[in-house]
Symmetry: C2
């Protein structure tokens, strides 16, 4: 631990805790940077011994055991509403059953603080012309390196994680679990297919010449997932992001039960829709107005403003 | 309170609680019906005095005050990981600061238990032919009555909630806040536009003859929101659902910050995309394969199975 609140360190007298118990003694509260109401997570700017700290406090999901232990006379209830068969209560379970999770960043840089601060978002409407004038130069100059993708494609890293590979240089791809998936909970199944071709930046580049590639990923990706994990195609969402988080064509495969923030209608494009739209019109994705959400501090947003393609 | 755990009722000796303190004494645990990991809510089947109860236990979001009070020596931390400047802790705040919310349904019916039980979902690919053969007859026979919509359009109910109206019988609509929005938190802004025409069931019916209607809703809806609430167009998502929850054409307007479960890529269709697609091809939405998610106990899903349009 980078920070040692010595004054309050003590051995636990509670057998639920097998290790030393620390506390927030010595931390000075500065500001709530962001409060995510849906995920029940607070991002806090704090200081310890004069240096910045970022504290992420997150309410944790229930597990079957703790639920059962909470359903006893030890849990205190205070009625707040009653109507017919429905009633609501403020509820105070035993402290040890109601743990949260804290992530501490200490010492924290200004970048850490910015990263976890509430951000303004804007909707951008990107025409085909805007793409060529603003987005493409941005991608070529500013986007992060794809070296980590090439390391995977070259089997230099993560070779043991590969679920399926089609080695064809034109329509081939590598399928592997997304870092966010623990590979245990099948309801949270999440994989990515990385294409072997290195000349396709994103959805914007796709036309009818890529239909064999796209159909190959859809068909073999879904069948590999069925074979390896037993999850059938009608439980798996396959989609591309625009804007993507990196500019090397890739397809996401996620379980229908995974409540994934990356599946919003202004970011995710279903692979079956992409194929159908290109079959209808080869230049569909080169000409379409693409709608997406950007953070105000995103360089791409600033580029759109500078070119006068959007207004503040 | 429908249920009276008398044995454990007692006056609070803690001045944080101004009212009687109840508890879960007497409740027998039966089963976790559903455990929502993202919203941190558990749905529990229980029994009290031999009758069924459904208990919804929900972790609550942080508020600025409780965050500050938690950041003291009273909050116990147990280290679980440390790497460079990052470390994580199991965290046990004072019980009174870490309340949850319980909703009790008692006595609960079988329908209550089914409603809160984990459901299997399936992805359905609905072709234009499937729509005519399966979905349209289902909508005409089985869908819920639209009487509540007509009551609004006739100003028989909710007339005081109308934010904007264009009375044109062809391209007019009524804009009003969605029931889910409290009309106070602007980041959660959520309205619906109901068209005056009663002959358009959904997105599937739209073609180029409806472009003036769609463009009118987009333009006047966004400008009414700007005028009434001060929220500019680049912060507002406008979209249609397919399948919709009721079959009378309507458009959703939601703030970009609203983390809305109804904005998934296999349900929400951006109004600007709909207009552009129809401009490109009048019959786009009559011919397109529409992808959507259905619950296994949904009558529409059963109709697709019966017609052999999908496999179990």
């Amino acid at each position: 631990m980078a920070v040692e609140p010595n004054a309050k360190k003590r051995k636990s007298d509670d057998n639920k805790h097998s290790t030393e118990i620390l506390s927030f003694a010595g931390f000075d509260f500065c500001k709530v940077l962001k409060n995510d109401l849906r995920s029940k997570t607070a991002f806090i700017h704090s200081q310890f011994e004069g240096k910045d700290a970022v504290i992420l406090m997150e309410k944790t999901a229930f597990d079957a055991n703790s639920v059962q232990e909470m359903l006893t006379e030890k849990t205190e209830l205070v009625e707040t509403l009653k109507n017919d068969v429905y009633s609501t209560y403020k509820t105070f379970p035993d402290k040890t059953l109601n743990g949260m999770k804290t992530t501490l960043i200490y010492p924290a840089t200004k970048q850490h603080i910015a990263k976890y601060s509430e951000q303004e978002f804007h909707i951008v409407q990107e025409s085909g012309k805007d793409y060529k004038k603003v987005t493409l130069p941005y991608v070529k100059n500013k986007a992060l390196s794809n070296q980590w993708v090439y390391n995977i494609l070259n089997k230099e890293t993560e070779a043991d994680r590969i679920v399926f590979e089609d080695t064809c240089p034109d329509s081939g791809f590598i399928l592997l679990p997304d870092m966010k998936w623990d590979r245990k909970d099948m309801d949270a199944l999440y994989l990515q297919a990385l294409v072997h071709r290195r000349d396709i930046l994103s959805l914007r580049d796709l036309d009818q010449s890529h239909l064999p590639l796209l159909k190959n990923i859809l068909e073999k990706g879904l069948s590999a997932i069925k074979e390896k994990y037993g999850i059938p195609a009608n439980k798996v969402r396959s989609y591309l992001h625009y804007q993507p988080s990196y500019y090397h064509l890739h397809v996401h495969f996620a379980h229908i039960k995974l409540d994934n923030p990356g599946f919003e209608a202004d970011r995710a494009h279903l692979l079956t829709d992409v194929i159908e739209n290109i079959e209808m019109k080869s230049l569909y994705y080169k000409e379409k107005t693409m709608v997406f959400k950007v953070r105000e501090d995103d360089h791409l947003y600033k580029a759109f403003l500078e070119h006068g393609c959007i207004q503040k």
